[in-house]
Symmetry: C2
Subunit: 395 residues, 2 copies
């Protein structure tokens, strides 16, 4: 499946939760499948921290062939015949405001100054993103969504959709998510942000003007992130305490590798893996975007306006829900999903909940686990599909 | 209890595990209580990452009065009438080689160059520390220890004592420790080290020559450390999602505090706490010492020489053991202590094991928990005390 991103420009100013106003902006998005005549089969997919609108399929090279390494980040989940079947559903995915993958963000030009926005790009929240996504759907002529879905931060947007636009969402699929971040989650985000902000190449967020990039800080941020995405178990299985083989070293001699006794060289395989991930990330991700997106995570807390009462906060929701969590996910643990399940049940919402016994930690939501995909497939085939045909109503 | 650190110079070269040789060195240490005539009541306490020889009591000001903020780091555990009762035991604690609190380390002058050692200070291991500690005990005329004890990295030294000098240790008290680090532990250490090493003020580890200090890196390292010392539970209880009150803000108005919508200012209390801890640490800790000590943690793995078989590795031990772990410690989890218990029992060692249900995470080993302290007290009164009187023998 070859896909091409599209861009839509909005000239009506967007009022943000912070009080700031974004005068005009562009959203980059992709669609897969075909909107039916009733306009009832649209599914919105929301992306997480470092992902983009490029959810499914492949981008094309100049010859129209699939471009190497251009696979969508949820291509195992979304496409023809896949759990979210694009032969049946019209899937829309939007790059969020403040991102560095096409939609208006800190690397774009601030029309007021003629310079890149940098650190002056306004703080955006999950609610602001959902607001902007709703405008795009308006423009596409989609009033009601058969479903909204997302994992992690994408799950937060999904939950927020059911609260901001209760009558526009029939179903919500919230994977590996939480109703807010814990203090520990905020703490990891804060360390990552401090690593970026204290990098001398950050220049108060105006590094583009200075011709620099705070790569050191981004590397550290990404390394911290990676540790928290994986489970202790999967790290032990994948890397354990194995030492890194030097180039040209006899693979058969692995067991006899000796410690090199160095504080700065790579000694263990896990170190090599983390450094590689950090280096790669620092080449393509924007530091100001990282700050914005981690802050959106920190701020999300729909219960806040209800004195912490999540049940009261979700009373507005009208959608049916599928929630999924993974046993070894310590970043967005099953307990956090169960909080949402409980709050929704207290409001007599229709809720399905799957706790998948998977070893992969938070990353599991991106992986091709048969039970997980079967749960999503069944929900889209039967439950979402039934409302598509008008057989079941919620609310 | 006022104590004064002592210094001992060693001129016999110390051969290190790495193959390097430290030509001469000094160890700073403290003692509490009195060595008995039989020289049978000595207890060695081993320190963890950022601690020192100053375990118990207080240092004195110029008037001989306790100096503010000079309390020993395990003063709730060790002293007259305390669980490790210095009216009965002669407690010795040594600042480890490579530290920045007095014993020879990277901030000292390398006699070969006349410059601070900096990054040229040789890599030291748990085994090297134990070796150096044994030499100090030789110098103090102590052949056999009634007990060795330590928490975390100090527990690793304790375990190593029972393997390197099985006939010199009657009892070993290993608290909140592990027989090696997991990949996740190594990963956190590696991120901390990368933060330090990539700080432009690090200068390849020769920052003292350059008149700089890599404070940014140390701050990040400490923040990461702090997150992993605490449990998610205790962070939520202590900080939760509370916002930081600005100076002068009405304390009664806390509930109505609004988000400030900033990516760089402190918004949540947990952020303020972490920044404070990072700042404080970066003022007194040496960056090269941080690299050395985290590497000593990474390298420790007595089962390595036995193809990963911990039971075979501890077969040499002759001591009796008390192991203690804390339920919410995810850095050195109870499962890791149970591995040691199992390996020791397979060798028919005498082992007591307490798993303390405490909310404080890894930090619990430093805190004044009644059940924890009672377990240590009972072990020293009855079990260690009995061998002191010659009533029980091990091995």
């Amino acid at each position: 499946m070859i896909v091409t991103p599209q861009t839509r420009r909005f000239t009506e100013p967007l009022s943000l939760q912070s009080g700031a106003v974004l005068p005009a902006y562009e959203l980059v998005y992709e669609t897969y499948g075909t909107l039916n005549a009733e306009r009832s089969n649209a599914v919105l997919v929301c992306h997480a921290l470092n992902a983009s609108h490029h959810v499914a399929g492949w981008h094309a090279d100049v010859n129209g062939q699939p471009l190497a390494r251009s696979e969508g980040w949820w291509n195992n989940m979304i496409g023809p015949g896949k759990p979210v079947d694009t032969d049946r559903y019209f899937v829309v995915s939007v790059n969020n405001l403040g991102s560095c993958f096409g939609s208006t963000g800190p690397t774009h030009i601030n029309p007021a100054t003629g310079q890149p926005w940098g650190a002056d790009f306004p703080v955006v929240t999950v609610e602001d993103w959902v607001h902007a996504q709703a405008r795009l759907l308006d423009a596409l002529g989609i009033e009601t969504l058969a479903a909204v879905m997302g994992g992690s931060l994408g799950g937060m947007q999904t939950l927020s959709w059911t609260l901001q636009y209760p009558n526009r969402v029939r179903h919500a699929v919230v994977v590996a998510s939480a109703p807010n971040l814990t203090a520990e989650n905020i703490a990891f985000n804060e360390v990552a942000r401090r690593a970026i902000v204290t990098d001398p190449d950050f220049h108060g967020g105006h590094y583009l003007r200075e011709g620099t990039l705070p790569r050191r800080g981004l590397r550290i941020a990404r390394m911290i992130g990676h540790i928290t995405y994986l489970s202790d178990d999967v790290m032990n299985e994948k890397f354990g305490r194995s030492l890194r083989r030097a180039d040209g070293e006899d693979p058969a001699a692995v067991a006899e590798l000796a410690y090199r006794y160095s504080t700065q060289d790579v000694e263990f395989q896990i170190e090599s893996y983390l450094r590689y991930q950090g280096d790669k990330f620092s080449e393509y991700f924007d530091a100001n975007t990282y700050l914005l997106i981690t802050r959106a995570l920190d701020y999300f807390d729909p219960a806040r306006a209800f004195e912490g009462n999540l049940s009261a906060a979700v009373a507005r929701a009208r959608a049916g829900f599928l929630l999924i969590s993974f046993t070894t996910d310590w970043r967005f643990s099953p307990a956090r999903s169960r909080e949402m399940v409980k709050a929704l049940l207290e409001n007599r919402r229709e809720v399905s909940y799957c706790e998948i016994d998977a070893p992969h930690g938070h990353d599991a939501f991106l992986l091709d686990d048969a039970r997980y995909h079967q749960a999503v497939r069944a929900y889209f085939e039967r439950t979402v599909g039934a409302t598509l045909a008008g057989e079941v109503t919620h609310g």
